[in-house]
């Protein structure tokens, strides 16, 4: 089992790298969107750290997932809230863990149903192995290789974010 890194310092590193990336791309006024639920937690902290002027958006991708017929709806996820039009915006999509890539595929489809952005940057706290789609992140907190059957997810307890690894039986 991999060591579980300290989340706060990891988000801090991610924020610094994101800042460097944005200046290199000449992106000055991005619209940050966190994917429910873990991505929204990370995005909230990044949004503070980078002091972005546009309000933070959140995305609930339940209705865009590709596995609705096999596993149904995810219960009790808050609705999507995008503060401004995404038309011609430079978007930063934030998620906790990039694994298969299917969540990001669903998120991109949803964002495009709100309008046509100028660009989309993907920032993730953890990038792990085993992609199933041609999707990659531009900014990554930490890269991990996990054993088969192992999963990593972000949890929140008493306002503290923690990464936990789960082994499937």
């Amino acid at each position: 089992m991999a060591d579980t890194p300290n989340v706060d310092s990891l988000i801090n590193t991610l924020g610094q790298q994101l800042s460097t990336y944005l200046s290199a791309q000449n992106i000055t006024n991005p619209l940050m969107i966190g994917i429910h639920t873990g991505g929204a937690w990370v995005a909230e902290k990044l949004h503070n750290q980078l002091q972005l002027s546009q309000p933070l958006g959140t995305l609930n991708i339940s209705f865009y997932r590709d596995d609705f017929t096999s596993i149904g709806l995810h219960p009790q996820v808050k609705p999507s809230e995008l503060p401004a039009s995404v038309e011609n915006q430079d978007i930063i999509l934030v998620d906790d863990v990039l694994h298969t890539g299917r969540t990001i595929r669903a998120a991109l489809n949803e964002v495009f149903d709100y309008g046509r952005p100028q660009s989309v940057t993907l920032a993730v706290l953890i990038e792990r192995d085993h992609r199933e789609l041609p999707i990659c992140a531009q900014v990554v907190g930490q890269r991990l290789t996990l054993n088969p059957g192992e999963n990593i997810k972000l949890t929140q307890q008493n306002n503290q974010l923690r990464l936990v690894t789960l082994k499937r039986a």
Partner: protein, 330 residues
């Protein structure tokens, strides 16, 4: 649990408790009603999208079977299906094969043969949607869009959604349902929904001729005068006089009904100052309520129509989902 409630639950839920058909609120547990409201809340943001559509029911075929006239209910069911990316077909039964002598069961089997996934049924006979649910193929879901004087569960859920949106929760709420309770399938479904969701008190208000005799068995209090009936109420729901269902002289005249039971700004003062006024539509202005009330600050009548779409999206997608609770991996 009462026998009728148990029957309703068994017919509507899968063995693991998921919604299969939505025919009546009676017999459904609070957790399921709350799940419908929460899911509807998630869907409410779809209306803000440029492309007002989500792909989850892509490839599903939904047939609106309306044996009885409807504008709001049929169009919001149609819009809900389209916003879920389903293909939707509106069958106007009065101009179809039933006129040529085909039985209801034969119509049903013919539609099944077209590989559809869901029927939305409105019928003037109580129990029509239940009849469909008992005879459809196992993969098909049936939603009740109003059957006779029996039930109109999606209307009750959209009213519950609107109340939760405005008041935050059902805790401590006093809700008065005013008017033609006798002919109202909406009132029956609302009573079951509001009681299950935890309202403090549900009242029915109307003339003796329009209130069923044994209504107290549903756990509500009956009032025959408007002002005591809405005294200190948090929510007042006005129902339409269903003249088309009245076979005998139940009322002297509409003018007298309005004088005794019509809601005016003055009479509304009996309720709480922040009272919410609702009406499932269509409104007879000057019969059930004054225009001043219908268009006033307490009224959420148009909000009810908007919410109807999100609630029907929720019920359709919950009935179409199968399998167990998903585990997100990303």
């Amino acid at each position: 649990m009462e026998r009728s409630a148990l029957f309703q639950r068994q017919l509507q839920l899968t063995p693991n408790g998921q919604l299969r058909h939505f025919l009546d609120v009676e017999g459904l547990p609070k957790t399921l009603l709350t799940q419908i409201l929460d899911t509807a809340e998630s869907f409410s943001s779809v209306a803000n999208q440029n492309v007002k559509k989500v792909p989850i029911l892509r490839g599903k075929t939904i047939i609106n079977l309306f044996f009885e006239a409807s504008t709001r209910t049929r169009t919001t069911f149609e819009l809900a299906a389209k916003r879920l990316s389903a293909d939707v077909l509106n069958m106007n039964i009065s101009t179809s094969a039933t006129k040529k002598g085909e039985s209801l069961l034969d119509t049903l089997h013919n539609l099944e043969a077209m590989h559809c996934d869901m029927f939305v049924v409105r019928h003037a006979m109580s129990g029509a949607a239940h009849f469909f649910a008992q005879h459809v193929a196992p993969h098909i879901s049936v939603l009740n869009a109003g059957d006779g004087q029996h039930a109109h569960p999606t209307q009750a859920m959209l009213d519950a959604f609107t109340i939760r949106q405005v008041k935050g929760s059902f805790d401590g709420l006093t809700i008065a349902i005013v008017g033609d309770i006798y002919h109202s399938r909406v009132a029956r479904s609302q009573i079951h929904a509001f009681k299950t969701l935890g309202a403090k008190e549900v009242r029915v208000v109307g003339p003796r001729t329009l209130i069923p005799q044994h209504i107290a068995s549903l756990g509500v209090t009956a009032f025959h005068q408007l002002e005591p009936g809405i005294a200190d109420a948090d929510v007042v729901i006005m129902l339409r006089l269903q003249k088309e269902r009245m076979s005998s002289a139940l009322l002297p005249s509409e003018e007298e009904y309005f004088r005794l039971y019509g809601l005016t700004m003055d009479k509304l003062k009996a309720a709480k100052p922040n009272v919410t006024v609702m009406h499932p539509g269509p409104i007879n202005r000057g019969v059930e309520m004054d225009s001043e009330v219908a268009d006033g600050a307490h009224s959420v009548i148009l909000q009810q129509v908007t919410n109807g779409i999100a609630v029907r999206m929720a019920v359709m997608s919950l009935a179409m989902q199968s399998g167990q609770s998903p585990e997100l991996k990303g």
